[in-house]
C-alpha cells in the first residue's frame, strides 16, 4: 500500500511530464488550470498517464467530470450552483475539497476544484478499492 506522500510525489511527477512545469511549481493546493496552465486536452493526457503510472482504470468523467451541470437545469441558477447541484457534486466528486467552493458557488470557479491534492485523494481511494 502506498502512503499519501508517495502517491502525491508520483502525481506531481506525472504533472511535470504532462504539463511541462517544474517540480517546485507544484503544491498540493495548486489548481491544474489556474496555477499549472492545463488546457482541456491536458486533462485527457493526465488521465492516460495516471492510469499507466498507478496501473488503474479511470472511467471517462470520473476524475474530471466534464458535464455535471450541462444536463440538468436544476443544478445551476444565475451562474451559481443550487443545493441540488452541490449534492450532485458531492456524490460525483467525494474526493474533492468543496469547502471554499461552497462559499461562492460560482459555476465559473469549478475549475479550481481540480487541484493536485484532489487527484492524490482520488488515486488514494482508487488504490484502496483495488
Amino acid at each position: 500500500m502506498k502512503t499519501q506522500e508517495e502517491i502525491y510525489l508520483k502525481v506531481s511527477s506525472t504533472l511535470v511530464e504532462a504539463l511541462n512545469v517544474d517540480e517546485d511549481e507544484i503544491e498540493p493546493s495548486s489548481t491544474l488550470q489556474g496555477d499549472l496552465g492545463a488546457e482541456s486536452i491536458d486533462f485527457l493526457d493526465i488521465v492516460f498517464r495516471l492510469e499507466r503510472e498507478f496501473n488503474i482504470k479511470i472511467p471517462r468523467g470520473e476524475l474530471f467530470p466534464e458535464s455535471i451541470f450541462q444536463g440538468d437545469p436544476e443544478f445551476v441558477e444565475n451562474g451559481k450552483i443550487t443545493d441540488k447541484g452541490l449534492n450532485e457534486l458531492e456524490t460525483k466528486m467525494p474526493f474533492a475539497d468543496l469547502s471554499t467552493f461552497k462559499k461562492s458557488r460560482e459555476v465559473s470557479s469549478i475549475g479550481d476544484l481540480f487541484t493536485v491534492e484532489m487527484i492524490t485523494k482520488y488515486i488514494q481511494g482508487k488504490l484502496a478499492a483495488k
Partner: protein, 178 residues
C-alpha cells in the same frame, strides 16, 4: 497542395506500431525558403511525419471511423539538422489506445539517400517526439464538419493500402524482400 509527408510504409502492425519512410529531395518547394542556399528539412515537418504515421496507426485501430486529430505534442527533441536528400524513417509506437484518444511515441532516423534501411533501426534516433491524438467527439464533430471524415480523406489511406499490399505479399512469401 498535397499535404503528404510520408512516402510509404515499411511496417504496419495494427494497434501497435508503424514505420514509414520519407525521401527528402532538393526539388521540394520547402527547401527554397528553408533556407535559401542551405536546405534543411524543417523539424516541424518531421513532427508532421510522425503525426501522419501515428495518425494512420491510431485511425486504423478503429477502422477509420473516428476522426483522429493531433491534440498535443507532449515533447520533441531533435539532435541534428537533416539536409535535403536524406531519407527519413519514422518509427512510431502506440503507448495508449483508448476510446477517447491515443498517445504515441515516435523516433526519427535519417540515412543518406539510397542506403538500405537497417532493421532493427540504430539505437540512437536523430529526433524523437511524444504526441497525443484525440478522437473528435462524434456529435460535436458532426455539428462542425458534417458526416465527412476530413482526416482520412483518401491520400493517407491510399498509402496505407499500399502498406497492406506489402504486408500481405510478405505473408505469402515469408522469405521475400525485406
Amino acid at each position: 497542395m498535397r499535404w503528404l509527408w510520408i512516402d510509404r510504409f515499411l511496417k504496419f502492425e495494427p494497434k501497435t506500431a508503424a514505420r514509414a519512410l520519407k525521401n527528402t529531395s532538393q526539388a521540394e518547394d520547402i527547401f527554397r525558403d528553408h533556407f535559401p542556399g542551405y536546405p534543411v528539412f524543417p523539424a516541424a515537418l518531421m513532427l508532421e511525419g510522425i503525426a501522419q504515421t501515428g495518425g494512420i496507426l491510431v485511425g486504423e485501430a478503429n477502422d477509420f471511423k473516428e476522426k483522429v486529430v493531433l491534440a498535443k505534442i507532449v515533447s520533441a527533441k531533435f539532435q541534428r539538422e537533416i539536409r535535403a536528400g536524406e531519407t527519413l524513417v519514422y518509427d512510431v509506437e502506440i503507448i495508449v489506445l483508448r476510446p477517447e484518444g491515443a498517445s504515441v511515441k515516435g523516433r526519427v532516423h535519417a540515412f543518406p539517400a539510397g542506403t538500405p534501411i537497417p532493421d532493427p533501426l540504430p539505437e540512437v534516433p536523430v529526433g524523437e517526439a511524444e504526441m497525443f491524438f484525440a478522437h473528435l467527439d462524434q456529435s460535436r464533430s458532426q455539428q462542425l464538419f458534417g458526416d465527412k471524415n476530413f482526416v482520412f480523406s483518401g491520400e493517407l489511406k491510399h498509402i496505407l493500402g499500399l502498406a497492406k499490399v506489402l504486408v500481405e505479399s510478405k505473408d505469402s512469401t515469408p522469405q521475400g524482400v525485406q
